[in-house]
Symmetry: C2
Subunit: 323 residues, 2 copies
């Protein structure tokens, strides 16, 4: 099993370090915070240059787990000290990471990653080896992704307990704009509209407002880094929301009828619940035949996951929705 060098040991990076170690891999990390606590937990912490030199020497996979604004700086170091390493990341937005890799570490063998797991607490102290158990973990399969790099990164994600969702950088960013970044923007809009109603409105707020504004309590800096980093895709999602809300406004003003809006929303939520309640079918993809990356992307597009490998076969599960 390939060794793992994790750069950035907050909630996600720390959990990758712990999970990969629990899977039996040799691990070490670099961090700008909590180094003593990581060491006290029994893990090797090196400064970034040394961590990357060791990655080159031991042919480790390097996992970038720093916030997006710090990614390019880490990539420069990788270009200097481990320029041909196997590389992935666990940063939310994928487009800017791909651009940074092309610019600063173009000779690495890269497949981007995004584990869909988290919790409200942050930092090393909140990290845990089981954070990814059962979670979806995107590993990007673009036209120019090397199949062996993709597979090795997918194996790391599976070792950490996750199921792997193969998709492109662009499709990932478009999807998370809709289901992760747009929810933050709409929660902020709703919270501001409610607060504009003054103490009377807040005193009457019940579950619908509480749920709809929950993520507005997240630290603004984190939300901004996430949303602004996915600017182009989020703009499309916001335009979609503006169009739908504008249609609701028009219907309310003209006929007073919100049926199309409310029923489309109900259908959307029912689709989510149906997806989550779906049965699972098994499928296998031969990684030696045809266009395996395209086959893998089709699994992701259908809401499926890669859950393991058997020789040259990738083992997949696909949701089976009731008719």
């Amino acid at each position: 099993m390939r060794a793992v060098c994790v750069v950035g040991l907050g909630l996600i990076g720390g959990s990758v370090l712990r999970a990969a170690a629990a899977a039996g891999r040799t691990v070490w990390g670099a961090t700008t915070a909590d180094a003593d606590a990581v060491t006290a937990a029994g893990f090797d912490v090196l400064d970034l240059d040394k961590a990357l030199k060791r990655a080159r020497k031991e042919d480790a996979v390097v996992v970038i787990a720093v916030p997006l604004p710090s990614v390019d700086g880490v990539l420069r170091k990788i270009g200097d000290f481990a320029p041909r390493c196997l590389l992935t990341d666990v940063v939310s937005v994928k487009g800017p990471v791909v651009e940074g890799v092309a610019r600063f570490a173009p000779e690495t063998r890269f497949a981007g990653g995004h584990p869909m797991a988290g919790k409200s607490a942050s930092g090393w102290a909140a990290s845990e080896a089981t954070l990814f158990t059962g979670a979806a973990w995107v590993v990007t399969a673009d036209e120019d992704t090397a199949l062996d790099a993709w597979r090795e990164v997918a194996e790391l994600a599976i070792d950490c307990g996750a199921g792997v969702v193969p998709t492109t950088t662009q499709e990932h960013d478009a999807a998370v704009a809709r289901i992760s970044h747009l929810p933050h923007v709409l929660a902020a809009v709703l919270a501001a509209c409610g607060a504009d109603g003054g103490p009377l409105a807040l005193s009457l707020a019940a579950g619908s407002f509480t749920d709809g504004t929950r993520v507005a309590s997240s630290r603004p800096e984190l939300v901004l880094a996430m949303c602004e980093g996915n600017r182009a895709a989020l703009l499309e999602a916001v335009d979609d929301a503006l169009g739908k809300l504008g249609a609701a406004r028009g219907a309310l003003a003209s006929t007073g009828a919100l049926s199309a809006t409310i029923r489309a929303g109900h259908a959307g939520r029912v689709a989510l619940d149906a997806y989550r309640a779906a049965g699972q079918a098994q499928a296998m993809i031969d990684l030696t035949a045809g266009d395996p990356l395209e086959e893998l992307r089709l699994i992701g597009a259908q809401g499926g996951r890669i859950v393991g490998f058997d020789g040259d076969l990738a083992l997949a599960t696909l949701p089976v929705l009731p008719d």
Copy 2:
């Protein structure tokens, strides 16, 4: 203690019947569903005409607890059989109820009500005597509301375990548009935008999307009745949301910066949390001096509640926010 006649014995009406009985009041009801179950639970169920005749004879307070589209029909019956009764309702939107009262039962002594309690299950089977414990319960105090009617309805709400929020019909409808109806519209828009992302997006949806779309799983007919019944106030709230979302769109497209949007939303949610964590100061309102209805409305405008009466004094609590 005045007897209570509840018309409509679903979740809310059934819970009023149970709570008022538990407070020691004589109660009976009328219902189009579950009459056998209500009787089996030990309560008197009459047909609507007889229930209202008994209300007239025993000088009971009549509580309208039917869905908004059925309110006018009940009001006609009240005009026929108990035209001068003390009257309230527990329907969400207040404007259309006030209009119906003026048209069909203008001689009743009316103060509108809206208990801010509920749960996802509906119907008599879901009702419980403790549903309103600690909840806010709006009792409308308009310019033409009779103080003694307001007080008696408030006493019923307090007997049911709630704290009473005094405000006007118009201010109530504006507030619930922001904190109850707009959340449903935005949840519907978000759910539709997410589902438009297909199975890939649904497979990546985590907490922010799940929370933000939770109320989109409500029965569309109930949501439509609620939202469409509050058309004018909801239109204002939707316009506010459209303006804020449009501003976010413009900022994202021009500078890419969402700071104003995200920080205003964070401040709004912080205001909600601060309100809920606030300490409580006591206040008293002399119902025999000055303009007591205006004093009561000021309590509601400050996020306060009436929690009891002592002779001619109304006892209030007001939130005390940390500086």
